[in-house]
């Protein structure tokens, strides 16, 4: 944990003649140990920055995956929550940290997909400033409405939305959040302009949906499953190619008649640009092992997570995903007029 170099013979005057020799020894040790450090990585706990408050979906995924990766790597992966500005504060900090493999981060669709469109003063470039490690898990998106909304299925909902779209109230958790971005996609597909009511986080938004103050919302399945199962809100469709095991009675958007609405809030691990390839390879290997482990898979699936996208689990696959997503969301968000500042 502590790498201490013995304070050498610099301190007292009598040892002056030894100074150059000592300096040579020290610098040689340092160089050798730097190379050795790379090979021996990790020698101390690794910090994974999660740019959201603890307890949220991204944080839970990070902890589940990090737990298993710690075992493979032999060192603890310590989660550090740095919330703020839709996740960009934490990612900015991660991007600017030393690329020595001891700081990595869990980014997601918002921070590495929608952020460039939402935050013009963004201090990082999702495509260029990172060494991607791999996709961890995706959380599918569900379209939900308040319990007594006058539409029994997605088709009726679409019809209602198209007819009286601007009378509807849509809840979201803040500009740049998953609920905001995904509902922007929905609204642009439907061509509606509802009143977008903003909440500080999914909790309060869900609360008002349950109490019937707002009409509909698009959010990650993790947050919504208990409410849907208890019947306090209605689910119209889940945006996946096939039905989610957590909600077997909810049709997919394709089945329900809106196949254009396909989106998953993906969560992925990134390292800062310049992290040595060997370290990235080790991280990627640990991640893949974690995602193949039965116990970890079960915990993720219990959350309703989507583990189908295997291609993006490698560094190259993730890079391609990021590029695709950045292009997609900038187009969608511009069309909805949702660019900040």
């Amino acid at each position: 944990m502590k790498r201490r170099i013995r304070p050498p013979l610099f301190t007292s005057n009598e040892r002056k003649p030894m100074r150059p020799l000592a300096a040579l020894l020290v610098s040689a040790t340092l160089t050798l140990s730097a190379g050795a450090a790379r090979a021996a990585w990790p020698e101390r706990p690794v910090t994974m920055i999660v740019p959201f408050a603890a307890g949220g979906p991204t944080d839970v995924v990070a902890r589940i995956v990090g737990d298993h990766m710690s075992r493979t790597l032999g060192q603890q992966i310590v989660i550090e929550n740095v919330a703020g500005a839709g996740g960009t504060t934490g990612i900015t900090r991660g991007a600017q940290s030393a690329p020595d493999g001891y700081t990595i981060m869990m980014g997601h669709m918002g921070t590495h997909g929608a952020a460039p469109a939402v935050y013009p003063n963004l201090k990082y470039d999702p495509v260029k400033d990172f060494a991607p490690v791999g996709l961890a898990a995706g959380t599918p998106i569900v379209i939900v409405a308040r319990k007594d909304f006058p539409a029994k299925n997605l088709k009726e909902f679409v019809a209602q939305a198209k007819a009286s779209g601007d009378k509807l109230n849509e809840a979201h958790a803040g500009v740049g959040s998953v609920s905001f971005t995904t509902c922007s996609l929905l609204n642009s597909i439907l061509g509606t302009k509802p009143a977008r009511v903003v909440y500080r986080g999914t909790g309060p938004a869900l609360n008002d949906l349950v109490s019937g103050q707002v009409d509909y919302m698009c959010d990650q399945i993790v947050n919504l499953v208990p409410q849907i199962q208890a019947g306090t809100i209605k689910a119209y469709a889940v945006a996946l190619p096939q039905r989610s095991p957590a909600l077997p009675d909810v049709p997919t958007t394709t089945e329900a008649g809106l196949p254009e609405f396909q989106v998953t809030a993906w969560n992925a691990i990134f390292a800062p640009k310049g992290t040595p390839k060997e370290i990235v390879a080790k991280l990627s290997d640990a991640l893949l092992k974690a995602l193949d482990d039965e116990a970890t898979k079960k915990r993720l699936l219990d959350l309703g997570a989507d583990l189908t996208d295997r291609a993006s689990r490698t560094p190259e696959g993730l890079q391609k995903l990021v590029e695709r997503e950045v292009a997609r969301w900038s187009a969608v968000l511009k069309s909805v007029g949702a660019v900040a500042n």
Binding site: A54, N81, N169, V175, Q213, A230, A340
Partner: protein
């Protein structure tokens, strides 16, 4: 009734195992510790301790984390009383009379009544949760953004009542607090307001920064001024525990505070914050001699302390019955439950009764533990205050600095605290009080967000505030409180004009 008893016996059978008792104890101890430490709060600690809970059974993990949360409420009042630093938002009101009591040598009494009042409130709140969880949830669901906005506006009226001196100065400080709360990124549009482009401000000013600066550091500055007067604090210890007369005086406030806090705590969206303020305003109104408030009236400690502990416990209700966390700490609990494979929601009560009732039983036990922990500590705290001030205040500085830094790992927070310290010191020299500013700050964000939400849903129609009955009732109450508070002051100044 029989149902309730059988549920409770299930709960106790779960809570009274050696492991769960031990975890409750650990939670309470850690909670008290971080409550006492300025700046460090339950959120940081629960986040740090989450990984440790992985190996534990879910009920045990929740018991420990819950213990940390309400333990912090007990500890937060300690610093509020002793060094005028509110550990949590809810302890701000305790500083008003609690610290004055400490200056009069009655620190032990203040701490004692805070602990006893909190214990009573905890018991009441736990009973309420056990008996009335589901009906109360329905009440919470009736509150929409308009009602919240009205509630917060009513809360602002309380700020005026908090005033010790000039009402106008109090109003000015409240407005200043509201102004400070607007600093940050607007949630709706993503535009940054009043941040002057400075990145650390993009999420607004942190509550701890203002509280520490205005209360803690400014208090140190004030004390350094008045070298002669300061001997009183370290001097006579007086009683260590409340006398019978004290208890009798506090009985009413504690009961009223518990009920107020319990009801407000249920409201999702951090309604618990208002509890202590409402209790203080209520007690000041009901007291025979309101001028004692702000000068060490024991009711001003008993009521708010009861309210804040009751609120902390009942804020579990939305989490347990709806699965929707009412504040940031509860959101962490959601995460903890999720990690352990229990997804919180409306069905937890029926699918996982041992979890639900075990947690409730453990809350009662936790309250008892906290009382047992805190009462003997009072002697230790009071003795600690006799350390010569020239050594005490640098330690306060150090602990506050570390505490502030630990909130966001941000040195600029520490710098801002110094700035607020100067502002608080200067303001107090010309007769302004800091409590209204803090109240304005806390309520400002909640008020503005809910106001805009209500107007968005109503498409800009202002009459929504009078059309909805609860909303109208709240606004009316707020107006009444304001009028009743301001009227004597206006009459007094009119008399002054006449006599001159």
């Amino acid at each position: 009734m029989g149902d309730l008893l059988s549920h409770l016996s299930l709960g106790f059978s779960v809570a009274v195992t050696v492991q769960n008792l031990g975890l409750a104890l650990v939670g309470c101890l850690v909670g008290t510790l971080i409550g006492v430490l300025p700046g460090v709060g339950p959120i940081a600690t629960i986040t740090m301790l989450l990984p440790i809970t992985f190996g534990m059974p879910p009920v045990g993990a929740l018991i420990m984390l819950a213990g940390i949360y309400y333990g912090a409420q007990y500890g937060g009042s300690t610093t509020a009383i002793l060094i005028n630093v509110p550990g949590e938002v809810t302890s701000v009101v305790t500083t008003l009379d609690g610290h004055q009591m400490a200056r009069q040598g009655r620190a032990g009494v203040a701490l004692g009544i805070a602990a006893l009042g909190s214990f009573f409130a905890g018991c009441v709140a736990t009973t309420i949760i056990a008996a009335l969880a589901v009906p109360l949830t329905k009440l919470a669901l009736v509150f929409g953004p308009a009602e919240y906005a009205a509630l917060m506006a009513m809360g602002l009226a309380f700020a005026v009542v908090l005033a010790r001196g000039s009402i106008l100065k109090s109003i000015a400080m409240t407005i200043a607090g509201l102004l400070l709360s607007t600093v940050g990124t607007d949630l709706d549009t993503g535009v940054e307001r009043m941040t002057f482009g400075y990145a650390p401000l993009s999420d607004g000013v942190d509550f701890a920064v203002i509280a520490m600066g205005l209360f803690g550091f400014a208090e140190v500055l004030r004390n350094l001024d008045a070298v002669e007067e300061r001997e009183v604090v370290g001097g006579a210890i007086g009683r260590l525990l409340p006398s019978r007369a004290d208890l009798r005086q506090s009985a009413g406030p504690v009961v009223r505070g518990s009920l107020a806090g319990a009801i407000l705590g249920i409201l999702p969206g951090n309604g618990a914050v208002l509890g202590p303020f409402a209790s203080y305003a209520m007690e000041k109104r009901l007291a025979k001699d309101p001028s004692r408030f702000g000068r060490g009236a024991i009711e001003g400690v008993a009521g708010p302390e009861a309210a804040n502990n009751a609120g902390a416990q009942t804020s579990f209700i939305p989490l347990l019955t709806l699965g929707i966390p009412p504040n940031a700490v509860m959101a962490l609990m959601v995460g903890a439950m999720t990690i352990h494979g229990i997804v919180p929601g409306p069905l937890v009560m029926t699918r996982n009764p041992s979890l639900f009732w075990g947690l409730i039983a453990s809350m009662w036990i936790g309250n008892l533990m906290l009382l047992v922990i805190n009462l003997p500590l009072i002697g230790a705290w009071v003795r600690l205050c006799r350390v010569p001030y020239r050594l005490l205040f640098p330690s306060i500085l150090l602990f506050c600095c570390v505490g502030i830094y630990s909130v966001n790992n941000s040195p600029s927070d520490v710098l801002f605290t110094a700035g607020f310290a100067l502002v608080g010191y200067a303001a107090s020299k010309v007769g302004f009080e800091s409590a209204p500013l803090l109240l304005g700050f806390v309520l400002g964000r909640l008020l503005e967000e809910n106001l805009r939400r209500a107007l968005t849903i109503a498409r800009g129609d202002l009459s929504v505030f009078v059309r909805r009955p609860i909303c109208a009732a709240l606004l009316l109450t707020g107006l009444l409180v304001l009028v009743i508070a301001v009227l004597p002051a206006i009459q007094k100044s009119r008399e002054e004009v006449f006599t001159e």
